[in-house]
């Protein structure tokens, strides 16, 4: 496979499973997740807490501590030099070469990802000297360039700052600058704006979009916020109880979600400017119940105890497959076709 082949998948995940705990108390966090990412593509991975979205993101970088959890399945990544690597089986020594260089990650709370005792300058330079073998002088110039790219006011002063001296939004910019320093082909962004105020969130999302255009890197944007998905991604994966339950283009899935969970999730989110209908206040359509305990999952479809379309002996009998309903649009529901025909 050649380096310039854009059509080939950048990342192919097959039957990824992550199980925490030991024999007596096994907790499956990710169950049989398969998906692909192409180069330059922005994909959103959406789910509530406990859905397995963050664990999936961590597994892609080989960041699940061996011993704490068993990782099964295949994570196949195309490196920048055109070779392909199997992340799930890679020893730590080789993983270190992949992290930062091919795949980088940013987290929700940048304060815990930055080292409090080193200046921002030291931390960005370290990444540049390790990954891009730069001299101290080159690293400083490149650090300044990256901080400027992220609209950080007075970047030379920022280099001398410690993480605690920066605001949350500034810290996240620094994290993004560090993530970009190795020129990764894939950025995993795990709830990068969740801890920020909305006006700052809008700035960061805008930056990520612009940087994606400039660098062409692919982004896996992990979030619980459906609103953000349409701001940034072209394709969306919806996770529930460790599985992908719906996958499609943002346009398809948001216009006419086929999985009852996606439908319910979209309706349960209050939308600005829609609180009133004909002068009367509307109620939000809440999803009853709670996300199931991963150690005691319901039989059949994991969503059936909360689903308004639950059909006994069908939905609780066997686990529904992730069915291809249209090219690029997969749905995990026994009844999606019947429900759609009824709705039409």
């Amino acid at each position: 496979m050649s380096f310039t082949d854009d059509s080939a998948a950048l990342l192919t995940v097959r039957d990824l499973a992550v199980v925490f705990g030991r024999a007596a108390r096994l907790t499956p966090a990710v169950r049989g997740v398969s998906f692909e990412m192409r180069r330059h593509e922005v994909v959103a991975l959406v789910g509530e807490s406990g859905s397995g979205k963050s664990t999936t993101g961590l597994a892609l970088l080989g960041l699940i501590t061996p011993g704490a959890a068993a990782v099964k399945g295949s994570i196949n990544l195309a490196r920048k030099d055109g070779t392909r690597l199997e992340i799930a089986k890679l020893p730590e020594r080789l993983l270190r070469q992949v992290r930062g260089n091919d795949v980088a990650m940013i987290f929700q709370e940048p304060m815990s990802a930055l080292d409090p005792i080193y200046t921002i300058g030291t931390q960005i330079s370290e990444a540049l000297r390790v990954h891009r073998k730069m001299s101290a002088r080159e690293a400083r110039a490149e650090s300044l360039r990256l901080l400027t790219l992220l609209d950080i006011p007075s970047p030379d002063r920022c280099l001398t700052n410690y993480p605690h001296e920066l605001s949350g939004g500034m810290r996240q910019r620094v994290m993004i600058a560090m993530a970009l320093s190795g020129r990764p082909a894939l950025l995993i962004a795990d709830e990068p704006t969740t801890a920020l105020d909305v006006t700052i969130q809008a700035q960061i999302v805008d930056h990520l979009k612009a940087l994606q255009h400039q660098t062409g890197m692919a982004i896996l944007f992990v979030t619980h916020d459906l609103g953000l998905v349409s701001e940034i991604a072209s394709r969306v994966l919806v996770m529930y109880a460790g599985q992908i339950v719906e996958e499609g283009s943002v346009e398809q899935v948001f216009k006419r979600p086929r999985m009852p969970y996606t439908q319910a999730l979209m309706r349960s989110r209050p939308r600005l400017g829609r609180g009133y209908q004909g002068g009367v206040k509307k109620k939000i359509a809440a999803i009853p119940g709670a996300v199931p305990n991963p150690a005691a999952l319901p039989r059949g479809c994991s969503f059936h105890p909360r689903c308004p379309f639950f059909l006994p002996n069908v939905c609780d009998a066997a686990e529904p497959p992730l069915e291809v309903t249209e090219p690029g649009w997969r749905v995990r529901c026994m009844r999606w076709r019947e429900l759609e025909e009824r709705a039409a």
């Binding site: 509530e48 807490s49 006011p153 605001s167 949350g168 939004g169 500034m170 105020d197 909305v198 006006t199 700052i200 969130q201 809008a202 700035q203 999302v205 805008d206 619980h224 916020d225 459906l226 609103g227 953000l228 998905v229 349409s230 701001e231 948001f254 319910a264 999730l265 979209m266 349960s268 989110r269 209050p270 939308r271 600005l272 400017g273 829609r274 609180g275 009133y276 206040k281 509307k282 109620k283 939000i284 359509a285 809440a286 999803i287 009853p288 709670a290 996300v291």
Partner: protein
């Protein structure tokens, strides 16, 4: 508002001193809340929105005298709560309660759910001991939890269930007024909706008044009758909730609304430049001017006062003519 408001806050100000050095020299002041006034009617839900550092939490606590303001007045049922002695304050605590953001931090994990809910009843000695179990059961039903939950431990509960327990505890003393400080922010989307609907239902059934503090304007639009927007300790705009989100009159509200991500694209987005300035040295004049796309010289010179820009709608902006 026709009758006397339930809560009336006037010119509320809370400055925190910053002291340094061996002699605790005063080196500056954090202006957490500056000159904020508003009212809440007897059965009204007022939303208080703002970003972190806006002073919204401090305002909520001052409304219950959980912090002592630097100056200003807070009147509840016509009485100045700052003048209350211990006995009066205790009586006031029966009428006004608070629900915090994190249901993991605000419940004692060693108590049973029944003990958590009945604690205010026992502290206030409102009921004979024999009647407490019955009241706990009723409160659990009120917040849509099964009555056998009284014997459970908080650790067995999910976040949404815990927040219901916190709400039941606040309701135990049959208050007239509740301050809810980001009560759904720590919860998952699907659970948030359940708790919002519960609050809405309680408001209708029990005729509660509420100060609902949040950064989430979409949630507020559903729950609140009016919304107040604060920025750097100052009240920017206050008005009916549907007007505030569909036709904001302050540039900050406008930007805040436009920044809320929406699943359907195509809305006009205003991206504000820079960070919120530090409350130690807020900008002169209008505190929002450093990030305002419409700022003019007058904005640096004078602090804008609230002016009525529509029925029941007040805006603090020099540049209303351009918006």
């Amino acid at each position: 508002m026709t009758a006397e408001p339930l809560l009336k806050i006037e010119k509320l100000r809370k400055f925190y001193d910053i002291r340094r050095g061996m002699f605790s020299r005063l080196v500056g002041q954090v202006q957490a809340v500056n000159d904020v006034s508003f009212e809440i009617g007897s059965h009204e839900v007022l939303g208080l929105a703002g970003e972190s550092g806006s002073g919204k939490t401090t305002i909520g606590r001052a409304a219950l005298r959980l912090v002592e303001p630097t100056s200003g007045s807070v009147r509840f049922e016509g009485q100045e709560i700052m003048a209350f002695d211990r006995t009066e304050l205790r009586a006031f605590r029966r009428k006004a309660q608070i629900v915090f953001q994190d249901p993991y931090a605000s419940i004692d994990p060693t108590m049973t759910v029944g003990e958590v809910i009945s604690e205010p009843l026992r502290v206030q000695k409102l009921l004979p001991r024999s009647e407490i179990p019955e009241r706990v059961e009723k409160l659990l039903v009120d917040v849509s939890l099964p009555s056998h939950f009284a014997r459970r431990r908080p650790t067995e509960l999910s976040g949404g269930q815990r927040q219901r327990v916190v709400i039941a505890r606040a309701l135990a003393v049959e208050p007239r007024f509740i301050v809810a400080d980001e009560p759904v922010s720590a919860l998952d989307v699907s659970i948030q909706a359940q708790v919002i609907n519960l609050l809405e239902d309680l408001k209708a059934r029990l005729g509660l008044a509420m100060l609902f503090i949040s950064h989430d304007l979409a949630v507020m639009e559903y729950l609140c009758d009016r919304i107040a927007i604060v920025y750097l300790g100052r009240l920017m705009e206050i008005g009916p909730s549907n007007e505030m989100v569909t036709a904001p009159k302050h540039p900050y509200t406008e930007a805040l609304i436009s920044a809320v991500p929406d699943p359907v694209r195509g809305r006009k987005r205003i991206i504000l430049k820079g960070d919120v300035p530090r409350p130690v040295a807020p900008p002169s004049g209008c505190v929002f001017r450093t990030r305002c796309p419409y700022a003019a010289p007058v904005c640096a010179a004078e602090v804008p006062t609230l002016r009525e820009t529509g029925p029941g709608h007040w805006t603090a902006c020099h540049r209303n003519d351009v918006l």
